[in-house]
C-alpha cells in the first residue's frame, strides 16, 4: 500500500536504516562547520562599533535561540503525528527534540546572560523576551519529566504531546515579544520582516553557525531517537 519512501517516514526501523549511512557525515560536517563558524566569529570579523568584541557571543546565542524555538516547533508537529496517528517514530523524534531543545534553551539563556551583563548592565531581567524563553524551558522540562516518570509508554507519549501543544502558544510570544511590547532585548536582526540589520562583513559566520548547528542538531536528534528505538525494542513496548 505504501511506496518505499513513505515507509521510511512512518516505520522506525526503515527510517533509521535509511538514514544510518548519513550519520557520520552529519556529525563531521556539523562539528567542522560550527568550529569554522566560531573561529570566524571570534577572529575574522571586525568588532562592533558600539558593543566591541562583546558582541561576538552573538554567533553562539542567535543560532541556539533560533533552534531552541525551531526544535519546539518540530516537537509540535511530531506530537500531532503522535496524538492523532499514534506513530511511534514521531514519539521518538519528539523526545529527541525535547532533549536537544531543552539543552539549547539552557545555553541560550546562559549565553544571553553573559552577553547582557556587560552590555545592559544586568545578568537577568524579568523582561518578556527573557521570561518567555525561560517559560519555554519549563515546558521542555515538563515534557521530559512526563517521559521520565509516566511508566506507560502510550500514556507518556499522549500526555507529553498535550503539554507540548499547550506550550506552543509561547512560540509566537517569544518571537514577537520585542515587537509587541517594550523590551530591553533588541529587535530581530535577521528573522524580522526586513533586510538584515547586521553588516554583511559580520553576517557570514552566522550563516555558517546556522548551517553547522542545524547539521549537528540533526545528528544529535537521530542518534537520540535511534537510542530510544533500540531501548523500546529491548523493552518490547
Amino acid at each position: 500500500m505504501f511506496p518505499a519512501s513513505w515507509k521510511a517516514m512512518l516505520t522506525p526501523r526503515v527510517f533509521y536504516q535509511t538514514l544510518d549511512p548519513y550519520l557520520t557525515v552529519l556529525l563531521i560536517f556539523g562539528v567542522l562547520t560550527v568550529f569554522v563558524g566560531c573561529f570566524s566569529g571570534l577572529f575574522l570579523v571586525p568588532a562592533d562599533y558600539q558593543q566591541g568584541d562583546a558582541f561576538r557571543i552573538l554567533y553562539l546565542h542567535v543560532p541556539l535561540a533560533a533552534l531552541s524555538m525551531g526544535l519546539y516547533a518540530f516537537m509540535v508537529v511530531a506530537s500531532i503525528a503522535v496524538y492523532v496517528w499514534q506513530l511511534k517514530l514521531y514519539d521518538q523524534l519528539a523526545y529527541a527534540a525535547a532533549s536537544v531543545g531543552a539543552l539549547y534553551t539552557v545555553l541560550t539563556l546562559i549565553t544571553g546572560s553573559v552577553w547582557g551583563k556587560p552590555m545592559w548592565g544586568t545578568w537577568w531581567l524579568w523582561d518578556v523576551r527573557l521570561t518567555s524563553e525561560l517559560i519555554l524551558l519549563f515546558f521542555y522540562s515538563s515534557v521530559l519529566l512526563i517521559r521520565a516518570h509516566v511508566s506507560d509508554r502510550k500514556k507518556a507519549a499522549k500526555t507529553a504531546a498535550i503539554v507540548c501543544f499547550l506550550g506552543s502558544i509561547n512560540l509566537p510570544i517569544i518571537h514577537f515579544s520585542v515587537e509587541w511590547w517594550h523590551s530591553l532585548h533588541q529587535k530581530s536582526s535577521i528573522l524580522g520582516l526586513h533586510a538584515p540589520t547586521i553588516d554583511a562583513s559580520m553576517l557570514w559566520p552566522l550563516a555558517l553557525m546556522f548551517a553547522g548547528l542545524i547539521t549537528l542538531t540533526s545528528w544529535l536528534m537521530l542518534t537520540h531517537a535511534k537510542g530510544t528505538f533500540k531501548q523500546q525494542q529491548k523493552e518490547g513496548v
Partner: protein, 140 residues
C-alpha cells in the same frame, strides 16, 4: 480519514484556538506588566506618583551633566516627551547621549526629577564595524 482521527484533529484545532484566544486576552489585560519600561509619553499618562517606574527612552543629546556630588543628570526622551533623571552611581558601559536607556526609580510626576536607583543600557539591533558610513550616519 478515520472518523475518530478526524474528530481528534478538529478537537485539537478548536482547543488550541480557544486556548490561544484566552492567552491573548490575558496578555492584553496585563499589557502594562508585560512592558519592561514606559516611554516618557506613557509615563506621563499612566505613571503613579511615588511608585517605582521603569522609564525607557533615548538619552537626550546635550542633556548629560554632572552635579557637584558627582551624580549624573540627563533627560530621557521618546522624541515626543521628556523626563529628567538623576543617577548617582556608575554609568553602564554602553551609556551615552543618543543611546537607549532604562532608568528605574520612583516617579514623581510631570516635569519632576526621577531619582534613579538603577540604570540599564539598551542597544538596538544594528551591528556595524566601526568607521563605516552607516555608523557615521547613526552617530550623527
Amino acid at each position: 480519514m478515520h472518523p475518530k482521527r478526524q474528530q481528534k484533529i478538529t478537537q485539537l484545532f478548536i482547543s488550541m484556538l480557544c486556548f490561544g484566544a484566552a492567552v491573548a486576552c490575558l496578555l492584553w489585560a496585563m499589557q502594562d506588566s508585560m512592558n519592561s519600561y514606559f516611554t516618557p509619553k506613557e509615563a506621563l499618562k499612566k505613571g503613579k506618583v511615588g511608585r517605582v517606574i521603569q522609564l525607557g527612552g533615548l538619552v537626550l543629546e546635550g542633556s548629560l551633566q554632572q552635579d557637584s556630588k558627582g551624580c549624573f543628570l540627563f533627560a530621557v526622551t521618546d522624541e515626543q516627551d521628556t523626563l529628567n533623571v538623576r543617577f548617582c552611581g556608575l554609568l553602564p558601559a554602553l551609556f551615552r547621549e543618543g543611546q537607549g536607556v532604562i532608568a528605574i526609580g520612583p516617579y514623581q510626576g510631570e516635569s519632576q526629577l526621577i531619582e534613579a536607583t538603577r540604570l540599564l543600557a539598551k542597544h538596538d539591533e544594528y551591528y556595524r564595524p566601526p568607521g563605516t558610513e552607516a555608523v557615521q550616519r547613526r552617530l550623527g
